[in-house]
């Protein structure tokens, strides 16, 4: 009788441990229905035919008496970035409840303070998923953002952040332990995402020449890490519809398991 290999046994046990996590068990047939997803960005064009009726709430940051406060927003999206992100999220999860938290635009200074206030607003209002295709490189926001991320983590709010497109760290994407950080790759199926365990930016999703919604009712093809991030936010919304009580680390575990499966599948395809 052959002796069993302990390493092989451990590997098989691991396979069994994650064996139940498959696309079928997580997002198959899901639409993200009722999942609250905040887009902290430049606003969303709520009149765009593809986004109409999907934006449950639209607020805008303004400074009053030296403090950042949020008022209902009717100014839309003058930059296009938030609308583009919203289009990608709803492409993956068409029935999510979008919440637009506008922190960039004509009335916003574009400061880190507004960005932090927007994130704080999303956490306080119990968003389940927050799309942060933005970040800051200013070191003074390192500490406050860290605190906010801890609050989000304990509130069960899943933050998805885009990596900086430039060779410079940006916050919060480098806080990889408590959020899902995403970098772009060319083409491909958004569900066939990758996971770079051990890297600062862990998830890899399409972000090159992505066709998405643009203010005014049209569509654009856009490139940037900003647009890889909402694909993962949409996929997480599907998972959250199936399992609404998942914690951030459980969601990351699921993404890791499925990305590993994606990688195995890709490696199994014979190379020409």
């Amino acid at each position: 009788m052959a002796q069993s290999d302990p390493a092989m046994e451990a590997a098989n046990a691991l396979k069994d441990l994650w064996g139940g996590i498959t696309p079928d068990s997580t997002w198959q047939g899901r639409t993200g229905k009722g999942v609250r997803v905040a887009v902290v960005d430049s606003g969303i064009d709520v009149r765009h035919p593809a986004l109409k009726d999907k934006v449950k709430e639209s607020v805008e940051a303004v400074v009053e008496n030296g403090k950042v406060v949020f008022h209902p927003s009717t100014s839309g999206d003058q930059a296009g970035h938030g609308t583009a992100c919203a289009g990608i999220i709803t492409e993956v999860a068409p029935e999510v409840e979008l919440h637009s938290v506008k922190v960039l635009g004509p009335n916003a200074s574009g400061s880190g303070d507004m960005f932090l206030a927007g994130l704080d607003y999303a956490i306080r209002n119990k968003m389940q998923v927050v799309n942060l295709s933005l970040g800051t490189t200013k070191p003074q926001y390192f500490g406050p953002l860290h605190d906010l991320l801890d609050r989000a983590y304990h509130a069960g709010c899943i933050l998805v952040a885009a990596a900086n497109n430039l060779p410079q760290p940006s916050y919060p994407s480098i806080f990889s332990s408590s959020l899902v950080s995403v970098v772009k790759r060319e083409g491909g199926d958004p569900f066939n995402f990758g996971y770079r365990y051990g890297e600062v930016i862990e998830l890899v999703a399409p972000g090159v020449q992505v066709r998405t919604t643009w203010p005014g009712g049209g569509y654009r093809q856009v490139t940037g890490n900003s647009f890889a991030c909402p694909y993962i936010a949409g996929i997480i919304a599907l998972i959250m519809e199936a399992y609404p009580d998942l914690t951030p680390f459980q969601v990351k575990s699921i993404l890791f398991a499925i990305a590993s499966r994606n990688k195995q599948k890709a490696e199994a395809i014979p190379k020409e």
Partner: protein, 288 residues
């Protein structure tokens, strides 16, 4: 008593006349100081900003060639609210761009400036796309790549590329060759170099602005202030300005070599001044 009073009054008059002269001399002195400051400010601002602008233009040209772009521009901060203006532009409608202002947070460049995130957009498949800048210039944007200009963690402007060279010769409906992620990285390297120059340019421009503000606050709306402003504006547009600046630089260089050189220089200039008093040389350049 009356005589004494009258004598005193005479001496008072004398004193008052002397005071008046002294005040006039002081006023002339302060005027001279203003002039010196004006010359120095104009000299510094011009000497610093012109070569910097040329360097930015050269780098922009190189960057556009490297990315095979039809047009490219450097936009810088316009005020404190996040607005942008064109500092340098190249391409078919470069001249028209220089008067355009981008309001805060508007369009791709407004977003890139506020967010600090680069972005490439392809609008070639959307015939309805007609942004504000296109409507002002008559140019048609098909693809664009914008990347922030940053000094440390601070955004100082945006570097933008538009369309590929020769795009206008392509048959109608041909998809544009969008900017790639590799080109986005390349643009970031050019942006780093340009940002340092833009930062230096801003500092030089600040010298000029501070001087103008000091004239405004010191001169107020009075005669001296108005005359100085008028003179300064004439100085900037005068063709002789460059020659005089070059002369001023030469004098400064000679003066810095030592007392004997300074003395010699002064004698030569005094002779020149006496000669020009005869009417051989006249200009309105230094006149108010």
């Amino acid at each position: 008593m009356a005589t004494k009073k009258s004598t005193k009054s005479k001496s008072d008059k004398k004193r008052s006349k002397a005071d008046g002269k002294r005040k006039a001399r002081e006023a002339a002195g302060s005027l001279e100081d203003y002039l010196k400051s004006a010359v120095r400010a104009v000299e510094v601002a011009d000497l610093l900003t012109i070569p910097l602008t040329h360097s930015i233009q050269n780098l922009l040209q190189l960057a556009a060639q490297s990315l095979n772009a039809d047009a490219a521009s450097v936009l810088v901060r316009d005020g404190d609210e996040g607005g942008l203006k064109f500092l340098v532009a190249m391409g078919p409608v470069a001249d028209k761009l220089m008067d355009i202002r981008i309001p805060p947070g508007r369009g791709v460049v407004g977003f890139v400036f506020q967010s600090g995130q680069p972005m490439a957009v392809d609008v070639s498949q959307d015939p309805n796309f007609y942004p504000m800048v296109d409507s002002a210039t008559g140019y048609r944007t098909l693809i664009t790549l914008a990347t922030p200009l940053r000094v440390g963690a601070e955004a100082v402007g945006v570097l933008q590329f538009v369309n590929r060279s020769g795009w206008e010769h392509l048959p109608e409906g041909t998809p544009a060759e969008a900017f790639t992620p590799e080109e986005m990285e390349k643009a970031a390297y050019f942006a780093d170099a340009i940002a340092a120059l833009v930062d230096a340019h801003e500092t030089a421009s600040l010298v000029e602005t501070l001087f103008e503000l000091s004239i405004k606050s010191a001169g107020g709306g009075d005669e001296i202030g108005n005359a100085l402003r008028k003179w300064l504006s004439e100085v900037r547009t005068a063709p002789e300005h460059k020659d005089l600046m070059a002369l001023a630089i030469s004098l400064r260089d000679i003066a810095s070599r030592g007392d004997a050189e300074r003395q010699l220089c002064r004698e030569v200039l005094d002779s020149l001044a006496r000669y020009t008093e005869r009417g051989a040389f006249s200009t309105t350049y230094m006149s108010f």
